[in-house]
Symmetry: C2
Subunit: 292 residues, 2 copies
């Protein structure tokens, strides 16, 4: 059984991205990433810190804009417009979820699609669906695909089951893996809470991707012997034995599934670091495209 | 075995649409559909005639714009801009495919998304992916979904296999049937030319949709006993015994598959008439939305 070391793969990709950043700098362009966060959710702040730190580590211009919880939608949109117009910024990410009084769709729709490094602007959603190579692909599905490619796992012709149909992971990943060409050509099934006999459907998978946000939902009886398992879930569960009283687990019951599959991603240290690496990758792409 | 009579179902839906047209007219709004066709492909002209005739039959304002083969892209775009601005026109369709010197993506991108009754503008592609009820859904996949609904076939929880991953049918239909809510909640697999053991994948289907454009490709051994089969293909094949020397067949070997399945659409008279009925439906939707 192979443990797919997302942390190591992400570190290697970040080194490549660092080289791309240096090459851009030599041409007078410093890729710039702006992360906007509204409110004080601790988990969101932790994610934003990792993104900012990684961007800085690899030599990017990194801006964090922290806005108070009570920021109005109009104020946030004004901020986005400023960043759209800022020539030092090539990628803009508004950390999800914003407070409830803000309509996230409107905010995403206001981004310059050429700076939408998170890949959720309708222009990019459509490009992903069309298999357009100019798309900014959302970072988590892109990270999952890249993990498979970097691990030498055969995607073309494989039976892939994506568990979860969210717009953040499930649906874009399904489209990526079914599109024509490198990293695609898989036979993809999207399974979800309404799927009849979910265990049986999951057992068909050569590659099973769990993205349903339910701690340790995927058990050994849902996995075919020798399958590859990608665990997108990051769930915090109570654990009295831990110093913090809690620990992170994925959507997969790791120990029992690991004993059965041919390769698996751990949580943490699997998909998570790849998501950040793909954000950096997308920001360099944006700088290359805008800078031309 | 039930023959799903697309012609009869489409006629019933067109009667409903006729009533909606009358209701709009009573409010002073006559739904208007403009169909633009460039060049002289006979099949395209036949499609356009059916669309125009149906629109007129149900009381719409119907405009056909025929442009010569040598029309430039800029001329076509100017025509689209005129129609975008025309208050008598609520739906615009540019018949596919245009001549090779015209970039269809650019043309579709120039449509006012509120008049994009064919559902291929990126704004609508993204809305379909997001499951947004404000989307204009492409007419053929919408027609397939409606055929299933009108025939009382259980979609939620069903194993659906969509054979074909085109942006016109396969991918949008897969998204429609997997999205949450009425007409969705199916477990959808998209299979295609690179699928390993295609027959076995197809045999898993409670509902099999064939949309690959290959005459009589789906044989009896690819269909589970009692499955529902929707045939999207329209292929012209040589037939010396026919007065015209050719006849239309679907992507399904009808006779042998019909003997095995619980319900099937014929070609012609299955999905085809539904595509036109959905175009009329979308045009009324557009008039209702714009007219408000």
């Amino acid at each position: 059984m192979t443990l797919i070391d997302g942390k190591a793969i992400a570190a290697r990709i970040n080194e490549e991205t660092r080289a791309s950043v240096a090459a851009l700098k030599a041409r007078g362009i410093t890729p710039g990433l702006a992360v906007v966060i509204v409110g004080d959710d601790p988990a969101s702040h932790a994610y934003v810190r990792s993104k900012e730190k990684t961007a800085r580590d690899i030599g990017m211009h990194s801006v964090k804009i922290e806005l108070p919880r009570e920021t109005t939608q109009e104020e946030l949109l004004a901020q986005v417009r400023r960043l759209n117009a800022d020539p030092l910024i090539h990628g803009i990410l508004v950390q999800s979820p914003p407070p409830r009084h803000i309509d996230e769709r409107v905010v995403i729709g206001s981004l310059d699609p050429r700076k939408d490094v998170d890949g959720f602007h309708p222009v990019n959603v459509a490009k992903v669906a069309l298999g357009d190579p100019d798309a900014f692909v959302p970072c988590t599905p892109l990270g999952c695909q890249r993990l498979l490619l970097e691990s030498g796992i055969q995607i073309a012709g494989a039976d892939v089951v994506v568990l979860g149909r969210s717009m953040i992971v499930g649906k874009p990943l399904a489209l990526l893996l079914m599109n024509k060409g490198r990293g695609g050509d898989a036979t993809v099934t999207v399974a979800h809470s309404r799927t009849r006999d979910l265990a049986e459907v999951c057992r068909r998978a050569d590659i099973l991707v769990a993205a349903i946000g339910q701690p340790e939902f995927v058990k050994a009886d849902m996995v075919r012997e020798g399958a590859v398992v990608i665990d997108v879930g990051i769930n915090r569960i109570a654990d009295p034995s831990s110093p913090k009283g809690a620990r992170l687990v994925g959507d997969v019951a790791f120990a029992e599934v690991a004993a059965k599959c041919s390769a698996i991603t751990p949580v943490p240290g699997g998909v998570g670091p790849m998501t950040i690496a793909m954000l950096m990758h997308n920001t360099v792409l944006a700088a290359e495209r805008i800078g031309k």
